[in-house]
Each structure stands twice: as structure tokens, then as C-alpha cells.
């Protein structure tokens, strides 16, 4: 067993750390909160140039050809200062294209985002889906040489800004069936596509997407028609793994922010960190943060495991566990700051909000616990 990073990975982490410290402290995200886009295209371009956006994608599209481990390491560091650029949507939507798309599709739809010239979003949630990626009502009907798409998607992260959106749609099977699902790349500018930007609690933006008989060519279909069920599961896991990594970064910041505040804040003539009740609380925060770091590693390693059962087990374990850690650490982070912790001008509340978003995206604790408990591994050797 070896939990050490390689030299390349260490270098990568150091570069991202340097970037967040110097170029993207939380104030940057704070400013961008009220802007129409919510993030910064110049920074996105820079991330492309640094090779981060393509880290897990093939060299043929300009990527670095590494794995989700490197992607996860980047996301974890970006989480420490709540960097708002839409890298998780890119990793998920981009993986759909990289996994199922032809070489031509990859070059056309993925390469521009890897370079930081465009961005991608992933549209899979619907009103009824409650975290289940196979619960899809949006329909894809054959039309001429291509397809006609009709339906509504919700909470498409950064969908208000994406040039192209990877959309799940059903050509056969009933509402929750894993069979009959396909993935399409839909340009935001196509006729019939309407995008309503909505604010999410963390100060970022998502889109409510409506597809009103949108005509797309066969060149927009990723992989075989009706065959995307297993890929959708895998993408869900990849997205969940990414949220785990970002959450781990968040918790590290909240832990140390709180610990430093306990050293600094004086009441009753002493630093409040000298109260044993608060020391123990902070120790529990530390323990949870260590567990969070550990499951982030688990998620990084297992996110692309070809054994779907093992992948689901590990990702669900990591996600359900970090949701508990995250709830504790961010809530106590606020509590130990006292009044200032519930002001908008203090950062701890921003981390609390983002933690909730991460806990909910790509499956909440109830979803992952139920999934974990339904796997054969759970009942093996009983």
C-alpha cells in the first residue's frame, strides 16, 4: 500500500496550491458571486493553459492523458478557496465525450474546452429523478438522419454559460429503466434550446434547461443509441467522486480557519481555544477532516474502476461518509465563530453553503447509503 503522491502529482498539487493562494483567494469568488457569469473566462483559459482542464483527457484532444486521481487532486485544492470555475461539470461531461465519443466528436466537442476556450455542462437531473441518473423522461425520437429531443432538465451546473451541454435522453424503456438511454451533445445556441439561469445557494449558477423539439444530427449522439445506461452510472460516480474531493478541500480550510480563530478570539480574558469543551470539539473536527481526506483518496482511486460493483461501493461509501464529516465540520465551524459566523461577510458561511451543494450533487447520503446497502458486496459472506 502506498498513499504517497508521485513526483508529478506533488508538483501538480503545489502548482494548484500556489494558484489558489496567489490568484484565487475566496475574495475572488465573493466578487464573482454577483456577476452574470459567476466565474471568469480569463481564469478558465489559464486553467486550460496550465493543463488542468485536460488533465484526465487523452493527448489527442490536447489533454495530459492522466487519470481521475490527478483531476481529483486539482479539485481538492480548488475547493480550499471555493474556486468557482466549472471544472466538475467539465470533468463529467468531458468524460462522457471521451468515453463514448468518436475521435472526430472528441476533437470537435471536447478539445475546445480542454484548451479553455469553451466550457461544457452535464444535464441529467429531471424533476422526478431524485438523484437517479436513469430516471429520464426527456425523449429522443429519430427524425430524418438525426434525432428530435424534447424534455426538461434541472440544475444543470454552469449550464447558463456552457457552449455545449451533454444531455441524457430516452428512446425506449420506461421512466426509470437503465435501458434505452442515450447521450447527446447539444449546443446551447440551437433553436428550441432555452436556458434559464438560476442562482444556487453557494453563489454559483445553474440552468433550468428546456429542449423543445430540438433537432440534432446523428453526429451529436455519443456512442450507440439506447446504450448509455452504464455510462450514465459511471458518470454519476465520477461526479460524486469529484464532489468528495472538493469537500475534502473545503473541510481542511474550515478546520484551520476555526482553529486559528480559537487562538485569536478572547473572551473571559483568555483565548476561547483554551476552553476544553471547544478543544474537544475542534479535535472532532480534525478527526472528521482526516476521514474526509482519506475518503477523498478512496474516491480518487476508485472513480474509474472498471469493476462497477467495486466502484459503486467505494464511491457511495466515500460520499455518504464525507457528507457526515462535512455537515459536522462546517456547522461547528460556524458555531465556534459565534455571531460573526452567521454574517455574509465571513467566509465560513460560504463554505457551509458550498458543502451543502456538494452533499446534494450526484446523490445525497440517503441515496448513497441505500445504494451501498443494495450492492451484493454488502450481503456477501453474511
Amino acid at each position: 500500500m502506498n498513499f504517497d503522491l508521485t513526483e508529478d502529482q506533488t508538483l501538480l498539487v503545489d502548482t494548484v496550491r500556489e494558484f489558489v493562494k496567489k490568484e484565487s483567494p475566496v475574495e475572488r469568488m465573493r466578487k464573482l458571486r454577483s456577476s452574470e457569469l459567476g466565474w471568469d473566462k480569463a481564469v478558465w483559459k489559464k486553467m486550460g493553459e496550465l493543463g488542468w482542464l485536460g488533465v484526465m483527457f487523452p493527448e489527442s484532444v490536447g489533454g495530459a492523458g492522466m487519470t481521475f486521481v490527478e483531476a481529483g487532486l486539482i479539485v481538492q485544492e480548488l475547493g480550499t478557496t471555493l474556486v468557482p470555475e466549472p471544472i466538475i461539470p467539465l470533468f463529467v461531461a468531458g468524460s462522457a465525450i471521451a468515453e463514448a465519443g468518436s475521435a472526430e466528436q472528441q476533437a470537435r466537442f471536447l478539445a475546445p474546452s480542454v484548451a479553455g476556450d469553451q466550457s461544457l455542462a452535464f444535464a441529467f437531473l429531471e424533476e422526478q429523478s431524485r438523484h437517479d441518473p436513469h430516471s429520464v423522461r426527456t425523449h429522443a425520437h429519430p427524425a430524418g438522419a438525426g434525432y428530435r429531443l424534447r424534455g426538461k432538465k434541472r440544475w444543470v451546473l454552469s449550464g447558463h454559460a456552457a457552449d455545449a451541454i451533454v444531455v441524457s435522453a430516452r428512446s425506449s424503456g420506461d421512466e426509470a429503466s437503465a435501458d434505452g438511454l442515450s447521450l447527446f451533445v447539444v449546443d446551447r445556441s440551437l433553436p428550441g434550446v432555452s436556458v434559464q439561469p438560476v442562482a444556487t445557494m453557494d453563489g454559483q449558477k445553474a440552468a433550468l434547461l428546456e429542449l423543445a423539439d430540438v433537432e440534432v444530427g446523428a453526429d451529436r449522439l455519443l456512442g450507440g443509441v439506447g446504450k448509455a445506461g452504464p455510462l450514465l452510472s459511471a458518470l454519476m460516480d465520477l461526479g460524486a467522486a469529484a464532489t468528495v474531493c472538493e469537500a475534502s478541500g473545503i473541510l481542511q480550510t474550515v478546520l484551520w480557519m476555526t482553529r486559528n480563530y480559537l487562538m485569536e478570539r478572547k473572551q473571559f480574558n483568555v483565548a476561547i481555544g483554551s476552553f476544553q469543551a471547544l478543544q474537544h470539539r475542534t479535535v472532532d473536527m480534525f478527526v472528521e477532516t482526516e476521514l474526509a481526506k482519506s475518503v477523498a483518496m478512496l474516491a480518487m482511486i476508485k472513480a474509474q474502476d472498471p469493476d462497477a460493483g467495486e466502484r459503486r461501493r467505494a464511491i457511495s461509501a466515500a460520499k455518504a461518509s464525507i457528507i457526515e464529516s462535512g455537515a459536522f465540520v462546517t456547522r461547528q465551524g460556524i458555531q465556534l465563530h459565534g455571531g460573526i459566523g452567521v454574517t455574509d461577510e465571513h467566509d465560513v458561511g460560504l463554505y457551509f453553503k458550498r458543502m451543502h451543494i456538494l452533499a446534494t450533487l450526484f446523490g445525497d447520503d440517503a441515496f448513497h447509503l441505500a445504494r451501498y446497502a443494495s450492492l451484493p458486496s454488502f450481503s456477501a459472506n453474511v
Binding site: 459565534g338 459566523g341 454574517t343 451543502h356
Partner: protein
């Protein structure tokens, strides 16, 4: 042992319930139905309706406009208001400075201030906390200098809830810097917000609304007659007030209302074509919180029964604050969970999520404060450890 309310008490509850139904104006009733947040103006309009009925200050003595109800009736009344989702009245006049004045103020003060607190004509805020005096309130530094017939106030208060709407503020101020114990040099003073030198700057809370302010005092002149009670005795008065209405701090009705809201959201949310409320896992999750609330309600009834027998509510009320606020927060967590992906939303964007879900996210954020304000839960635990368990 008798766990039930008397037939008279139950009849009283029915009367209150029926009255709320008829008295709550339709536009407020519509918001209450959706558990929306009320504006300050809406809260004040409800205050005036309650005052018209003589029910704005049930806990005040009858002579000054109270109702003469006992602790059980006051509890039932408050629970009915909360269960109906009515706007919650600002506590600073009715529940804080009013009772304090009734106990320690002089006749002139009672005559001048109480009627307008009761009617809602004058709005109050509470100036206790300062940047360096939170849990350690006694170390407060706002200075009130004795200038013969008036005081001059200099310093700063903070977290002053709704100071931006208030006509008056009651402050704890230092009037004797030389006192041996810091608790001994503090006085209780009333100050008009429009006095020259007072400024209140609202803070946005994490809930997205400007609920509290930083309040500055720069050479503010306050007539001596605004001193309540004796000079340098303010700490004693403030402490006496802490014991007041401690049987209502659990917010039983607030949480009961939130659980109702949870069940309604679960009823209206479909997963796999069926209401969430039909799912045993979901029902269990709601029930887990509800049984804790049942337990706390019983603990609250015990405190009420004690109050009826004339026992002053003691440090036991810390239990009610402690678990009551934790359950309130648990309810917000539950609501967010039930909303599923909709809980990604923020607020003020009509049509994005169902109306009943619109105001959950601000509450989820703001209510983190419930375990901080009114004596943080850590401080409540210190009180229980010392006063009840006798730990050194």
C-alpha cells in the same frame, strides 16, 4: 401525575385557534401557509392586530395591558401562533425591555413606554453584545459618562437585531470603570435611535437578509431619566430578565410547524412516481425528529407545571434552549434533505421550486444562529454543569 390539559385549557386553545383563523389577514395567511418569511412591516401589522385583541403581551400583568393568563395558557397561546405559521413578534419590547421596566422601572417610565411597546407604535432593539463582549458580556465597554442631568454614550454594540427598524434601543453601558468586579459597574439605559450620534449599519446574514446591525454611539446625549432602576445595577436587572419566559425558549410550536412543513413537502414530492411521504425510510427520518420533539414537549410541560406551582424557572430552562434549538436546526436539515435537488436553490426566484420550498434555504442558513444567540449552547452547558450538576 396528569399529562393532560384541563377541559378549560383545551377550550381556551380552541378559542385561540379559531380567533387566529379569523383574524389573520388573507395576504398574511397565504404567506403563513407557504411558510414564507415575513417583512418587518408585515410583522408589525400582525402585532397591531394582536394588540387590538389585547393579546400582544400575554405575560404582562393585567394592569399594564397583559392577559393574566397562567403559564399553561401562555404556552398554549404561543404554540397556537407558531403552529399557524403567524409572523413572530419582535421580542425586544414585549419580552425584554417591557418586563424589565415593569419590574425595575419607575412609574413615569412605565407610563411613557409600556403603552407604545404594547401597541407596536414604538419598535425596540437590544444593545447588549459588543465586538469584544459576546459570551463574556460583562466585559462590555460602551461608556456612559455622567454629566449631571444626562449621560454621554460612546462606543459600539454589535449583532443588534433589527436596529435598522427600531425607534429605541436598550443598552447595557459601563457607568463605573473603577468597580471591583466588572459586573458591578454596568447600568441599564434607554436611548432613542434617532439621537444624534447613533448609527446602525445592517449586516447581511448568511440567510441572505439584513437581520442585524453594527450600532455606534458617538457622543450621544441621553437624559438621566432614561436610566432604568439604580445606577450600576444593570447587570442584576439583565440577569433577572434572563429567567423571564424561559418556559417558551424551546420553540416547541416552531419545530412542530416545521415538521408539518416537512410532511407537506414530502407529500407533494414524487420519487419514482410515488410521494416521498409513502416511503418508510422517509417516514422514519421524519419520525426520528418528531419523537425527540415529543420528549422535549414533555420536558417543557414539566417546566410549566413547575411554574404553576410557583417554582421560578431555574437553570432547567437551559435544557429547553439547548435541545429546542438543536431540534429547530434538525428540522431545517430535514427540509433541505426532503427537497432533494431543489435544495440547491437560493431564494427570491419565483417558479424555480414549489412555493412551499422557496424559503427553506434562507432559514437553513440563518437558523445556525439559534445555537449562538440568547446564550450560546456552550454557555448553556456551562450553566447546567455548574448550577445543576454542581461540577466545580
Amino acid at each position: 401525575m396528569d399529562l393532560s390539559f384541563s377541559p378549560e385549557e383545551l377550550a381556551f386553545r380552541d378559542e385561540v385557534r379559531a380567533w387566529i383563523k379569523s383574524a389573520l389577514p388573507p395576504h398574511l395567511a397565504a404567506k403563513a401557509e407557504m411558510d414564507a418569511e415575513f417583512t418587518h412591516a408585515e410583522v408589525m401589522s400582525w402585532h397591531k392586530i394582536l394588540a387590538g385583541k389585547g393579546w400582544a403581551a400575554p405575560h404582562w400583568p393585567k394592569e399594564v395591558g397583559g392577559t393574566g393568563w397562567d403559564a399553561s395558557r401562555r404556552f398554549l397561546f404561543s404554540e397556537e401562533l407558531e403552529l399557524a405559521g403567524t409572523p413572530r413578534l419582535s421580542p425586544f419590547g414585549l419580552a425584554m425591555v417591557g418586563p424589565l421596566m415593569i419590574q425595575f422601572g419607575n412609574d413615569a417610565q412605565k407610563k411613557r413606554y409600556l403603552p407604545k411597546i404594547l401597541s407596536g407604535e414604538e419598535v425596540w432593539c437590544q444593545g447588549y453584545s459588543e465586538p469584544n463582549a459576546g459570551s463574556d458580556l460583562a466585559s462590555l465597554a460602551l461608556r456612559a459618562e455622567d454629566k449631571g442631568d444626562h449621560f454621554i454614550l460612546n462606543g459600539q454594540k454589535t449583532w443588534t437585531t433589527y436596529a435598522q427598524y427600531a425607534d429605541w434601543i436598550f443598552v447595557l453601558a459601563r457607568t463605573n470603570a473603577e468597580a471591583k468586579k466588572k459586573q458591578e459597574g454596568i447600568s441599564f439605559i434607554l436611548c432613542e435611535m434617532k439621537s444624534p450620534g447613533v448609527t446602525a449599519k445592517p449586516f447581511l446574514t448568511t440567510g441572505g437578509t439584513p437581520a442585524f446591525c453594527e450600532t455606534w454611539f458617538e457622543n450621544v446625549r441621553v437624559p438621566k431619566e432614561n436610566l432604568v432602576g439604580e445606577l450600576n445595577q444593570g447587570w442584576t436587572y439583565a440577569k433577572a430578565l434572563l429567567g423571564h419566559e424561559r418556559t417558551l425558549v424551546a420553540g416547541i410550536g416552531i419545530s412542530a410547524r416545521a415538521l408539518l412543513r416537512a410532511k407537506r413537502i414530502a407529500r407533494d414530492t414524487l420519487a419514482g412516481g410515488r410521494p416521498l411521504l409513502d416511503d418508510p425510510v422517509i417516514r422514519t427520518r421524519i419520525a426520528t425528529l418528531e419523537v425527540r420533539l415529543d420528549a422535549l414537549r414533555m420536558a417543557n410541560y414539566r417546566a410549566l407545571a413547575g411554574a404553576k406551582l410557583g417554582h421560578a424557572p431555574g437553570p432547567e430552562s437551559s435544557i429547553l434552549k439547548l435541545r429546542g434549538t438543536e431540534i429547530q436546526q434538525g428540522c431545517m436539515d430535514l427540509l433541505m434533505f426532503l427537497m432533494g435537488d431543489n435544495s440547491l436553490s437560493w431564494f427570491n426566484e419565483p417558479g424555480v421550486v414549489p412555493p412551499r420550498e422557496q424559503w427553506v434555504a434562507p432559514g437553513f442558513n440563518y437558523l445556525r444562529a439559534a445555537t449562538i444567540y440568547a446564550g450560546s449552547n456552550e454557555i448553556q452547558k456551562n450553566i447546567i454543569a455548574k448550577m445543576i450538576l454542581g461540577l466545580p
